[in-house]
């Protein structure tokens, strides 16, 4: 559908890509319809299965996107493999809401392609929200969106969101918010098409721009303020927004994660403002607010050159990039709820040393958190850091320095996409891209689905190898007996 919409936009603009995109769109819909008709999905797949299916959904979307860029010839001129690598990177960057672009000059792309990029961001954001609500409700705080919280917990077993109502609410809020942003951008005079593209890539925390210099290139203060508002809101928990819409202001401010998010943003704004003031002498700095909103929401829209700022400010922005947005939002990163919970457990640990006979229960928003959550949290922290560090190591094999490699890996895992201090994405080598694409997908899917799928795949390979070996007459000794 997105493809057909992009094709129509291209047609309106008199572009050459309309036919190719339209045909691709029709083909994609046909394939999807055929799949739905012939292969009904098991409605209650096991956890591992559903995580793998989730991964496959993203891989398929990225595959279709890659084909679109190839068919439209967006990256032509440097041979097929180069075009393929660029297309894959652009597609993955779009659907994972990372927003790094392989386009050397964005303005040269057709409107159809630019629209498709924005739509891929938007779909990626919607997918991210669905993952947060349906697949990883653990610590996402989105239960209250569904009428039946218990079932949302059980949603881990099902690939489809267990509550249709929750899905409807997500669509209503996300769609409404995107439309609001499009209108707001249009009102700043950046043009209707740009407003559409920025609206979608802001609401989704994607960060694709229609200008090589990102929003900076538009040179429009109003648009930057709209982006600041849009990015900050896009990084907040959907459930919190839902309470806000329904007028439950009390519940909104009771969210400890929101308070931490607002507190961190404020600190960030103060610190970066000081850094900017030291450079430019400006007291109240739009640049500072923009940079904080862009990193903390993991959107990655660029408005200014942060590289010139004091390292105290840029380092803080990287920390924000790593922690990212609130849980249950379209953004990525480690998320503030996990930080809040980790802090609560650390405080509990310290208190228990002061009061050895105390009975201390960790609570978030007044609800007790089970002890098993600590293990999950620590596990996730290790996985997250592991992905970033391993990614940085792999990127460093192709890069000039570890700092750049670390930023690139962090930017991919957190799905931020803003590359400060590293060469722009189009200059990344093929090897680096091969590392960054899986990192982006892992980051978008909150890592677990990728790890679980990898383990399942390895298991299957091992089993097949065993059976092959057994077929050749080898046997394996297992504790407690012999197995063929």
């Amino acid at each position: 559908m997105g493809l057909i919409a992009s094709a129509l936009l291209d047609l309106l603009d008199g572009g050459d890509d309309a036919l190719a995109m339209g045909l691709m769109g029709v083909a994609a819909i046909a394939v999807a319809a055929a799949l739905l008709k012939t292969r009904r999905l098991n409605h209650h797949p096991r956890t591992g299965q559903s995580l793998t299916i989730l991964l496959l959904v993203w891989v398929t979307a990225i595959g279709i996107g890659t084909a679109v860029y190839l068919v439209t010839g967006t990256f032509s001129g440097r041979g097929f493999w180069s075009a393929f690598s660029d297309s894959l990177f652009e597609s993955a960057s779009g659907f994972t809401t990372t927003g790094m672009t392989a386009l050397p000059v964005v303005e040269e792309a057709s409107r159809g392609v630019l629209a498709f990029r924005a739509i891929s961001n938007w779909l990626g954001g919607l997918g991210g929200l669905t993952v947060a609500v349906a697949v990883l409700p653990f610590l996402t705080g989105t239960h209250s969106l569904s009428s039946d919280p218990d079932r949302t917990h059980g949603a881990l077993r099902s690939i489809a969101p267990s509550s249709r109502r929750a899905m409807r609410n997500i669509l209503a809020i996300y769609g409404g918010f995107s439309a609001l942003l499009v209108v707001a951008y249009a009102a700043t005079g950046i043009g209707v098409f740009n407003a559409f593209a920025y609206g979608l890539s802001t609401a989704s925390t994607g960060g694709f721009a229609t200008n090589t210099n990102s929003l900076w290139g538009e040179n429009n203060a109003g648009a930057e303020w709209v982006a600041i508002f849009g990015m900050f809101v896009a990084g907040t928990n959907l459930a919190v927004l839902w309470w806000g819409i329904r007028g439950a202001a009390n519940s909104v401010w009771k969210s400890q994660e929101l308070r931490l998010y607002v507190f961190a943003t404020t600190i960030g704004v103060v610190v970066t403002s000081i850094a900017v003031a030291a450079n430019d002498g400006a007291l109240i700095s739009r640049q500072a607010v923009f940079a904080v909103a862009s990193t903390i929401s993991t959107t990655g829209l660029r408005a200014h050159d942060w590289e010139a700022w004091h390292p105290g400010a840029t380092t803080l922005l990287f920390v924000f990039m790593a922690i990212g947005s609130m849980s249950g939002s379209a953004g990525g990163g480690f998320r503030w709820l996990r930080i809040r919970t980790l802090l609560a457990f650390i405080r509990r640990d310290l208190l228990s040393r002061l009061y050895p006979k105390s009975v201390l229960v960790v609570k978030i928003d007044g609800r007790p958190i089970a002890e098993s959550v600590v293990q999950q949290l620590v596990g996730y922290l290790v996985l997250y850091a592991g992905f970033v560090l391993a990614g940085a190591y792999a990127v460093a094999l192709f890069e000039d320095g570890f700092r750049r490699a670390l930023i690139a890996a962090l930017s991919a895992v957190s799905t931020t996409g803003a590359l400060v201090g590293v060469p722009s994405a189009e200059q990344l080598r093929v090897g680096e891209r091969a590392v960054l694409v899986p990192l982006m997908i892992a980051g978008r899917l909150a890592i677990l689905p990728v790890v679980v799928s990898a383990i399942r795949l390895l298991d299957r390979i091992a089993a097949r190898t065993r059976s092959t070996l057994a077929g050749r007459g080898y046997t394996e000794t297992v504790p407690g007996g012999r197995r063929a």
Binding site: K357, S358, V359, L360, V361, K363, G366, P368
Partner: protein
């Protein structure tokens, strides 16, 4: 009035005692025969062994001529069913004791309605309210809010260095005119309680009940020689229902609350449900635990377990360690004198807290406050149109010797009563009285 009290426990037997002493015809029902025997020995009441949920037992206790049934067992369901049966048997009014918060919610309104209960009493929440009042007036041993909070009755022992010690009441009046903002309504000296007149001398260690305007409460506390800071760090010993309610309210007010509970399961339950409260698990008499709770820094220590001995011991240790204020919940009223002697600041009994509600209902007055020490009561009356009091001054009223008007509230404004104060219809009064004078005084306002 013929009144049936179901349940001869702490609350039931105390209510039966108060009612029988006021001349009501009281029958007490309980399943526990040993407990009944004790009641029969101590009180002038009829006792019937059996369950209040059995119509036959209720009939045996005189259901046909009964005006009021007080269902005061510790079992909510028994109390509700008793009320239902009593109403079906034609009893005009029933009072039901309820503990489960679920039954107090709006959802349970229908259940209470079906039981026909005219009044619901909850000893635990009444006790919690009393403790909260006392913590607001550190140094006072008793506090009661009257006339919708416009005036406060403070019970406190006069300290040696109190400005009022050694003065006659008439001198007190002269010295504090014209801003006379308080009035001594009752004095307990030794075992005797009197309603004082102007020539009465105040002595150190007298237990005074003083009525004052709410706005003047701090000055009064100073005059009584009791001024202390409102406690910030509060340690609650025991984790029952009362403690739960207290911890919740105190932490919401911003106090630093530490709670000690013996039962590990209950301690966890409390830790899960109470925000900003530090829960420690262990015995309240375990000194090392009290040290861990930093009892010496406590602004107030409130002991609320079901065991009087433990409550007293822990409070004593707290006082010795330097805790500012100690409050002990006592179930056995015989300890009261001892508590006072050993320096525990206040004692609260769950039984009096709920008995006040019952007495209020029986007498049909707006409010009744009884105290643990001494018989004096404080009551709230409204001056009826065309009553003796309507249009008279306080001096002209000819009140019985054992009664005294403490304060008058007219159009929402409180004033302390004096001889020349005039009374008008719809005025609300605070009256100090000994039980035997209540009826006679009440007639003047009716």
């Amino acid at each position: 009035m013929h009144i049936i009290v179901v349940g001869a426990g702490e609350v039931g037997s105390y209510v039966a005692d108060r009612l029988s002493r006021e001349g009501h015809d009281v029958a007490v029902i309980d399943v526990d025969e040993a407990r009944l025997q004790q009641v029969a020995q101590d009180l002038d009441v009829l006792t019937v062994a059996g369950s209040g949920t059995h119509p036959a037992t209720l009939r045996q206790a005189g259901l046909e001529r009964c005006d009021l049934v007080v269902a005061a067992t510790s079992d909510d369901e028994v109390n509700l069913v008793t009320s239902m049966i009593a109403k079906q048997g034609g009893v005009e009014s029933t009072i039901v004791r309820i503990e489960a918060p679920e039954l107090m919610s709006d959802e349970a309104e229908e259940v209470l309605k079906a039981s026909g209960a005219d009044l619901v009493i909850d000893p635990d929440s009444e006790t919690a309210k009393k403790v909260l009042d006392i913590l607001e007036y550190p140094g006072a041993s008793e506090v009661a809010s009257m006339l919708r909070g416009e005036v406060v009755v403070i019970g406190a022992r006069l300290s040696d260095d109190a400005p009022l010690a050694g003065m006659r009441l008439s001198e007190v009046a002269a010295r504090y005119e014209p801003e006379w903002q308080f009035l001594v309504g009752a004095i307990t000296r030794g075992d005797e309680t009197i309603i004082p007149r102007g020539d009465q001398m105040l002595e150190a260690h007298d237990l005074l009940r003083v009525v004052c305007r709410r706005s003047a409460r701090r000055e009064i506390v100073e005059l009584l020689g009791l001024a202390r800071d409102i406690p910030k760090r509060i340690i609650l010993l025991g984790g029952g229902r009362t403690a739960f309610m207290l911890a919740d309210k105190l932490s919401a007010r911003g106090a630093e609350v530490v709670l000690i509970e013996r039962n590990p399961g209950r301690a966890r339950f409390l830790a899960e449900r109470l925000d900003h409260v530090l829960v420690l698990q262990g015995e309240i008499t375990d000194v090392s635990l009290l040290i861990e709770a930093r009892i010496e820094q406590a602004g107030a220590v409130v002991a609320l377990t079901g065991e009087d001995h433990a409550n007293v011991l822990a409070c004593l240790y707290a006082k010795m360690s330097g805790a500012q204020e100690t409050v002990a919940v006592t179930h056995n009223l015989q300890y009261l004198k001892l508590l006072d002697e050993i320096g525990i600041d206040s004692a609260i009994s769950p039984r009096t807290a709920s008995a006040n509600g019952v007495l209020q209902f029986v007498r049909g007055v707006a409010q009744v406050q009884t105290f643990l020490t001494g018989d004096a009561e404080v009551l709230e009356f409204e001056v009826a149109d065309g009553s003796v009091a309507d249009g008279a001054t306080v001096a002209e009223l000819n009140l019985p010797k054992e009664a005294l008007i403490g304060a008058i509230v007219r159009d929402g404004k409180a004033q302390i009563a004096r001889g020349r104060s005039s009374l008008r219809k719809h005025d609300h009064l605070v009256l100090f009285a000994m039980p035997q004078a209540v009826d006679e005084a009440a007639r003047l306002f009716a």
